[in-house]
Amino acid sequence: MTRSVTKLVTTPEDHRIARLAAAAIGLALIDAAIPLPLPGVKPGLSNIITLIVLARYGWETAAWVCGLRVIAGGILLGQLLSPGFFMSLTGALFSLMILAGAGRLPRRWFGPVSWSILAAFAHIGGQLVLARLWLIPHNGLFYLVPIFALAALGFGIINGLIAARLLRSPSFMNTEVHHA
């Protein structure tokens, strides 16, 4: 009997994506553990990683990290293929779409805080569309829009500031480069 050996060739790029996705998944778990009064209002801490990846390695890597985080986070939280999973998938897709455009804005003027705010609004916008079409097909949902918008603005700014700060902190970024 011949032994078949399946060899998986991984590139440094794969390793980087895996490591960053692991960090994002960790933050997603912390996110899920924070109690908040209203379903749908969440800090979205793992998006800090998405922002940093976007700034350092570009949109494609950011999309990989974000997608892996959504799927692996779904598995770890036991909500894979549940409504909550599709909500976070939709949010991630919408924010990645807007980040594709926002990442091209001139860096001199627009930084991670801009990306973060735009992505947060896209995130909640996409989720509202999905929720209205599928989960809560009633216009009463829109009474909550102001609350969601305020949360998107607040958490968007906070996450953007954290990402900007980490990007500027030499020690954090050196470790990053060192491991890569």
Partner: protein
Amino acid sequence: MHWLSLLRPGDWLVAVLGATVCALSFPLAWQSGHAEKAIVRRNGEVFAELSLSRNARIDVPGPLGTTTIAVERQRVRVVSDPGPHQYCVRQGWLERAGEIAICAPNEVSVQIVGGKENYDSLSY
């Protein structure tokens, strides 16, 4: 390092835009007029108009039997209905302008209207 130094000029612009969206979302989402009265319809025709400021209870005869509608503390609900599914009864209290409970089998509906009529749908 000061947090504000992390903001670039465009970031302020985006933040102001976001704040504007937030500010605009309040009147847009919460405008729907003050709930003033409940309109009870039978077979599409107005059967009664009930002021929400006064508690009331009326019986509406329909093809299946009697639907009872009650106004209490600025709200209105279907108390009982002969229909098989009881959707309109289970809907509970209606309190905002535009809300409607329809007891389709008995052809009775009750809707709250406010000072400003909201569009239920638009088509061109």
